[in-house]
């Protein structure tokens, strides 16, 4: 493969993101001999991405998040540091067609799909229609935009259970399940106000809700020059409040035949729009083996590392080659999955208190080590989790020959992870991946929300409590000083009374 510097149409790549993904992208950029630049808000000065980058440019905004959403400022930063390409990571501007267009208009390469592809897939309804038109399976649905006046009646006709979603949405926000059609109107009103609040766009659509659904998605790669391959599927059914926390590949829900069917469907969908870039086609998968197109994410996915681990393909590298105008060098036959991989998302959150985000300093941070244990993180010891951004601290990815071994390795890695100063979900994740429902693949996307007891912290055994209190007491200076002030004789005699 062409990997020497002079083949690249750019020698510097600007990462327009933060956190673990910034560090992840920079790692590949720098491995390929390119210079990595990064923009960052002042709040992110002490992060791994900023430390790794060859060039770091501070950007400003009314809020830290606003800085990363300020496309003009980012493009100016790219110009300032001579970057020829911008990698948007995920979130922020990664699926913003206007930004992609502006980047290209500025004469820079956007490491992603074309603005048209983003536009086509960015709207759920548009995407669904396009997929349906191309002959792929979509859930029975009613789209408000088709005829707002008959939306309610058409939704009712689809039948219960029904899922109402914002057209402009994502990330599970503003979704409502209707099991009793008499409550349809109320739920629609509720969903609309949430959609308006979250996305500034109150349009909705309704589709058949699959009970106990599994979330299965397929990684695809396309070069926009007629070549599309899939890089296997990922099972992402462990979700709380519609947000993934554990992902694995291969999916334990699929037979070999179903796997081939779903992966080829995904590749077909991407091919139908001559997709350029890495992307993810998401499906909802029912207990009966039926699956429907959910949406397509036109960017690198948070959980992409598990696909990399079982195939040995560096997806960021592929993104870079494609953005550089190269044809895909991989054929479908080059994708040879081996073994099993699981990712756990480590969040600053209190699982027991309804997964409330937490904040705090990262006083001690020691990632787990060992073969086939991967730690993708943007934080460093001494840094902090603040309320400014998403509370994801890191992704822990492990690989092993089979699923059982992978689960064991994940449990051990979680156990070896030391992260002190901020409440995290690490212990919860360990309980979860070692639980019987996970082992038996009984967990569907709304399972955790229906089992809040799983997130409760088990009562501490007395010995553990005693150990904690003893260690804490001796580590607390006033208590230690008072105990140490006791003369040797009296300490030795102890609580004797005559």
């Amino acid at each position: 493969m062409n990997d020497s510097l002079h083949h690249w149409p750019f020698d510097t790549v600007l990462v327009a993101n933060r956190g673990e993904i910034a560090a992840r992208v920079l790692r590949t950029v720098q491995r390929l001999g390119l210079k990595g630049a990064i923009v960052h808000h002042a709040a992110d000065r002490d992060t791994l991405g900023v430390r790794m980058a060859d060039i770091a440019i501070e950007i400003t905004g009314e809020t830290p998040v606003a800085a990363y959403l300020d496309g003009a400022q980012i493009i100016a930063a790219a110009r300032q540091c001579g970057a020829g390409a911008i990698h948007p990571g995920y979130g922020f501007l990664s699926e913003n067609a206007k930004f992609a267009a502006a980047v290209e208009a500025a004469g820079l390469r956007f490491i992603g799909p074309t603005p048209q592809q983003i536009h086509a897939m960015g709207d759920k309804v548009r995407a669904r229609n396009a997929v349906e038109k191309a002959g792929f399976p979509v859930a029975p649905s009613a789209i408000e935009d088709d005829d707002p006046a008959t939306f309610v009646a058409r939704a009712r006709a689809v039948g219960a259970p029904l899922l109402i979603k914002p057209s402009a949405g994502g990330g599970g926000k503003g979704m409502h399940i209707v099991r009793d059609l008499s409550q349809l109107e109320g739920e629609i009103a509720h969903a609309r106000s949430e959609a308006q609040r979250y996305f500034g766009d109150g349009r909705l659509f309704a589709e058949r809700y699959v009970e106990h659904p599994h979330h299965i998605e397929v990684q695809v790669l396309g070069d926009g020059q007629g070549h599309v391959i899939h890089v296997m599927e990922r099972e992402c059914s462990v979700q709380r409040r519609f947000q993934k926390i554990v992902e694995e590949t291969p999916s334990p829900s699929l037979t070999a035949e179903k796997r081939r069917e779903i992966c080829e469907t995904a590749a077909g969908i991407a091919h139908s729009i001559d997709y350029r870039n890495a992307g993810t086609v998401e499906f909802i998968f029912g207990a009966g083996g039926e699956f429907y197109f959910l949406e397509m994410n036109t960017r690198l996915q948070v959980e992409h590392p598990i696909s990399e681990e079982i195939t040995g393909i560096d997806l960021v590298e592929q993104q870079l080659w494609v953005a550089a105008g190269e044809k895909l060098a991989l054929t479908q036959a080059d994708v040879k999955p081996h073994g099993h991989a699981i990712e756990c998302r480590i969040y600053a959150e209190d699982a027991a208190r309804n997964y409330t985000p937490t904040t705090g300093p990262l006083l001690v941070l020691q990632p787990p080590a060992g073969e086939h244990v991967r730690w993708d993180s943007g934080v460093v010891e001494g840094g902090a989790v603040t309320a400014a951004f998403d509370p994801m601290i890191a992704k822990l990815i492990v690989w092993a020959e089979d699923r059982d071994a992978t689960i064991s390795r994940m449990a051990a890695a979680l156990r070896d992870t030391v992260l002190l100063g901020c409440k995290t979900n690490i212990a919860f994740l360990r309980r979860l991946v070692t639980s019987q429902p996970f082992h038996a693949n009984e967990i569907h996307t709304s399972w955790l929300d229906g089992h809040p007891e799983v997130a409760q912290e088990p009562a501490l055994p007395p010995d553990t409590l005693h150990a904690l209190l003893a260690a804490a007491a001796l580590s607390t200076k006033p208590l230690r000083d008072t105990a140490n002030a006791v003369p040797d004789l009296h300490a030795a005699i102890g609580a004797w009374r005559n």
């Binding site: 002030a485 003369p487 009296h490 005699i493 102890g494 609580a495 004797w496 009374r497 005559n498």
Partner: protein
């Protein structure tokens, strides 16, 4: 230092009989202690609870550092007085550790007659304050006393060692730089008001704590002025207006927490340096002391066996083992501290007296604290011994004992009769601490001996008149004397009268002495100096 080789046969019938006897005495003693500490009329407990007060022992638990010992003093003071209605003389004193500092605790016990001061209460408190002065130990006063028990005021108010001595001692302590903190948890009225006022620091609890020279009723009768307790001497008034007290507290727990914080600010004592090593448990089980001590006061036993069950590793460096053998002298380690021991193995003869005197001088020269283990019937009497000058030899020993500069400790192990009590550092000789074992006895002579002496005197009077003493008349003289002696020579009488600092279960002696030795080292040890030894 060689280990004492015990000659005791712990399987013997004698040992087992002794052990059973002495364990029973110890159990009786512990029951008396328990009753003195905890048995109170229900109405007194109820009153305390209604006032939201803790008991004195609950307060103590809050005050002391966790996992540290407390050496309570004179627990059974006044046990034989006032019909036994004033247990512990209505107060609790002792030595404990607060915020790492050895302190003397002086606490009023409001569950006994409202904590009113009886004559023995005053004696006990004055003794505690003397201990603080002699040993430079900071004091924590937990004040909760109704004031003096007026009907007995003549017995605790006017004399040199009466109530005024408490405040005098507080002032002396302050001059010496020995710090005091008072925690006012009840009313401190009249003289009692001076305890917080003379303390370097004072904490006062809102509501139940109050300080005034005269309480509301007395003020009303004196001047007609009407006051509430809070207005007249409450916590907020004294800590924000008068400055009589320093820290207000919302609860007893908080008051004691503040006191602990205050004690934490006390200066670290510059303790006197004496020889010491790593402590080591006795090789012989101290519980075997029960089998060592005989059942009869007149039965002799070997003090080596006692020493072996008190000192580190049961090791003992004996001095002049073959000379003056009725007084065992030697060095040992107790809780690591090097001490000199004088222990009676019989009556004091000229040689044993001279040996003891010499040994006391060795200890003073070597800055070695001295432990006296008393089991003494006195100095030897008789023509031969008078001719050898037993009196001047006894005088030498008293001269040495009285002028000791190293701390002295005395344990009444068994008998303590006659001038032997003095030579072996009895109460009058300022042992820093003096403890008694439950079966020990103290008197100028044995009960039978005293009764017979008095009978003889009467018989000689009658003989001069040509009469003889009838058996009935003899019994009328003899029996009451024996009864009176037996009562007043018992350890319970001694401790009731505060002739000692408390009775100890023999097995507790080692710990008590360890704590006591450590406490005494808060005071510096001077250079030895004596008067004239009559040669």
């Amino acid at each position: 230092m060689k280990r004492i080789e015990s000659k005791l046969n712990t399987a013997s019938a004698q040992f087992r009989a002794n052990a059973e006897h002495n364990r029973k005495l110890a159990a009786e003693f512990h029951e008396k202690e328990r009753a003195a500490r905890f048995d109170r009329p229900q109405r007194d407990i109820d009153r305390l609870r209604k006032q939201g007060k803790l008991t004195v022992r609950e307060r103590l638990d809050l005050l002391l550092d966790p996992g540290t010992p407390f050496l309570e003093l004179s627990t059974l003071a006044a046990g034989e007085s006032y019909d036994g209605k004033v247990p512990g003389a209505g107060c609790m004193t002792g030595i404990g550790v607060v915020s790492g500092h050895e302190v003397l605790v002086n606490a009023g016990d409001a569950s006994v007659k409202g904590g009113a001061w009886y004559p023995q209460s005053v004696k006990k408190i004055v003794r505690a304050m003397d201990i603080a002065i002699e040993n430079h130990i900071p004091v924590v006063h937990l004040c909760d006393s109704a004031g003096g028990f007026l009907p007995m005021q003549s017995e605790f108010f006017p004399d040199k060692y009466h109530a005024g001595r408490i405040f005098r001692n507080q002032a002396v302590l302050s001059r010496m730089g020995v710090q005091q903190v008072a925690v006012v948890l009840g009313h401190c009225t009249a003289g009692g008001a001076y305890i917080p006022a003379l303390s370097d620091y004072s904490v006062i609890k809102r509501g139940t704590g109050a300080i005034f020279l005269a309480g509301p009723p007395l003020v009303k009768s004196a001047t007609g002025e009407e006051n509430t307790v809070d207005e007249l001497g409450g916590a907020d008034m004294h800590t924000s207006v008068s400055g009589v007290a320093d820290y207000p507290a919302g609860s007893e727990e908080e008051a004691i927490a503040i006191a602990r914080d205050v004690v934490a600010q006390f200066k670290t004592p510059d303790k006197a340096r004496v020889e010491s090593q790593e402590p080591e448990a006795p090789y012989y089980d101290p519980a075997e002391l029960y089998g060592v001590l005989p059942q009869d006061i007149k039965t002799q036993f070997d003090m080596h066996e006692v020493i072996a069950r008190l000192v580190d590793g049961s090791r003992f460096h004996e001095y002049q083992a073959n000379y003056g053998k009725t007084l065992v002298c030697g060095f040992a380690q107790l809780w690591g501290y090097k001490i000199g021991i004088l222990a009676n193995n019989g009556v004091l003869f000229n040689d044993s007296t001279l040996k003891g005197t010499h040994f006391i001088e060795l200890c003073n020269q070597g800055r070695t604290p001295i432990l006296f283990l008393q089991n003494i019937t006195g100095f030897m009497v008789g023509r031969e011994y008078e001719r050898r000058g037993i009196t001047k030899d006894g005088a030498k020993m008293i001269m040495a004992v009285a002028n000791c500069v190293v701390p002295k400790f005395t344990v009444m192990c068994h008998g303590s009769f006659g001038a032997g009590n003095y030579g072996m550092s009895g109460r009058a000789y300022d042992s820093r601490f003096l403890f008694s074992w439950p079966q020990s006895q103290i008197s100028v002579m044995g009960a039978e001996q005293a009764a017979n002496t008095l009978v003889d005197v009467k018989a000689r009077q009658l003989a001069r008149l040509g009469k003889t003493l009838t058996p009935e008349a003899r019994a009328a003289i003899h029996d009451p004397v024996v009864a009176e002696f037996e009562r007043k020579q018992s350890a319970y009488w001694s401790t009731s009268e505060i002739w000692d600092d408390g009775i100890l279960d023999p097995v507790d002696t080692r710990n008590a002495l360890g704590i006591a030795i450590s406490a005494t080292l808060n005071a510096p040890i001077g250079d030895p100096r004596y008067g004239i030894f009559r040669m």
